[in-house]
Symmetry: C2
Subunit: 315 residues, 2 copies
């Protein structure tokens, strides 16, 4: 086997790739050079997971990478029909973000339960105002998305005494199917969106779904912005159909400075960082190296995406 | 037995006391009338736990209540030498606040780990700025105070993957003694003050103790303000001896509008509310009614304070 070519989409430093020195020829590309370089690459590493360049640059026919790895949990930014139809294997960063995102969800849920955003507002005004807050234990969460992130969220909320229902693409052991969703939303204190973006999930949180939720409910999105009809969410919050939301992902990122979401009462906006704890890039680099070792040795890859479904099928 | 007189210090409504109708004569007092009414009372219920009136009004000799109950975990606001020396039994609200306070501590610890106060600041400026945050699992906490509140805090942090050491008045099974404190503080990511205010704990968090802590450490006080030398804490935060603090209790409450603590970077100020979740007054009322039933039946009371130590001795 000749030395394979690894094409990296993205310019940020790649930790841990030193272990592959001499065993791979590394080239870099950005959105403008990707199309020209893809045909000569054996492997594509999508290191800049904010880029949508793969979808536009993927060659319809002819030479192309045999393997594409993305340093993200979601694959919606690269799956185009041509890639889905090809025999190229796609893998993702399944596992790296699960626990950090679960902690992030717990942080936001607890912040709402304990009225922390209001505490910080009152503090700025030097105002001492006692309030009663909510007890988290005994409340109910509905987690939409039954992959490793959704399951980690359910585990962490469960450890805090929250009764948690998981909703997936189809009912199975411990997971509700879509047919239960509205019933579960109607009684949830916390609704957590942790699903992949697919044809079935795009826009699933629309005006009707927010209307089903309780006025006291909070919505937390750590999945993808396009799971949500943002105007419907803003309307539900404004008209007190729900109590508030924590949004880490948006239909367009970065969120535009003139978006009404920035200043909606009861809404916390964060810049797509829920899974990014110190050392995360090291973990992503190490994960890719481990996958590369498998690939180079001809062993089966793990974290292989079902390109029709748009995610790694679960257990 | 004639109908006993229950003297209530405080004017807020008393939930759940309807169950005692006809079996007790209820009188009310405030700071100005307490001294005159104490001698004729059989039972004193300190419902306004922010008042220090009992310390001043307690009769040295002569008739006095046989039982004093306070609707709070701490008893520092009522224990005076004359009450401590008397045969009057003192009980507290042990149990009501444990889980709510543990959740509150988890909320603040997670907020710091996930940089939530900064997220809210950036949101006000409509600024999208990605940051790496901390993973909570695998960090270390030192919880000072090994009563039910400290143990609940340790349990909740432990459920989130935090390695937690409890420090109490003396070493015992699962609890470190004061001799271990400095060593534990030196390696803690989170230092939680949940101790009663006694002669041994007053001012224990002083400049030397803050100097022992790591510059990355956060301090959380849900015990009593006077556990802390506030100037020393402010100095440690200003000079980055520690990363920040969440303070729910203060030497003087309400915190004065001109206190420098309000606007210290990295410090969250809340108005003594960590344990006060919806329904807490109902729980406190129900707990008193249950104790009263025991007392009226001549059965032993529970939650009996060791008046020399200043708290309910543990298991």
């Amino acid at each position: 086997m000749t030395t394979p070519t690894l094409l990296v989409l993205g310019t940020d430093p790649l930790p841990r790739l030193g272990r592959l020195t001499g065993r791979v020829r590394v080239e870099h590309a950005d959105a403008s050079t990707l199309a020209a370089r893809l045909p000569s690459a054996d492997v594509l590493l999508v290191w800049d997971f904010t880029s949508h360049a793969v979808r536009e640059a993927w060659p319809g026919d002819g030479p192309r990478p045999r393997w594409v790895h993305t340093a993200s949990a979601g694959v919606d930014h690269l799956l185009c029909p041509e890639l889905a139809a090809s025999d190229t294997v796609v893998t993702n960063a399944r596992g790296v973000f699960d626990q950090p995102i679960a902690e992030y969800v717990a942080a936001l849920v607890l912040a709402f339960a304990k009225d922390l955003p209001r505490t910080l507002e009152l503090q700025r005004e030097r105002t001492w105002r006692h309030r009663e807050t909510r007890r988290l234990a005994g409340t109910r969460a509905c987690v939409v998305g039954s992959g490793p992130i959704g399951r980690a969220v359910a585990g962490t909320l469960g450890a805090l005494g929250v009764t948690t229902a998981l909703v997936g693409r189809a009912a199975r052991d411990g997971v509700h199917g879509p047919e239960d969703l509205d019933r579960l939303l109607a009684r949830a204190d916390w609704v957590i969106a942790a699903a992949p973006l697919t044809g079935a999930t795009r826009g699933m949180f629309d005006a009707r779904r927010f209307a089903v939720m309780q006025p006291s409910a909070y919505f937390v999105n750590v999945g993808r912005g396009q799971l949500v009809v943002e105007e419907a969410l803003a309307g539900a919050v404004r008209e007190r159909g729900i109590a508030g939301a924590a949004l880490d992902v948006f239909a367009t990122e970065p969120l535009a400075p003139d978006s009404p979401l920035w200043h909606l009462p009861g809404v916390v906006v964060s810049p797509h960082m829920s899974g990014d704890t110190a050392g995360w890039r090291d973990e992503l680099g190490a994960q890719f190296v481990e996958l590369f070792e498998r690939w180079a040795a001809g062993r089966p890859l793990v974290n292989v995406v079902d390109k029709q479904r748009g995610y790694v099928p679960g257990h």
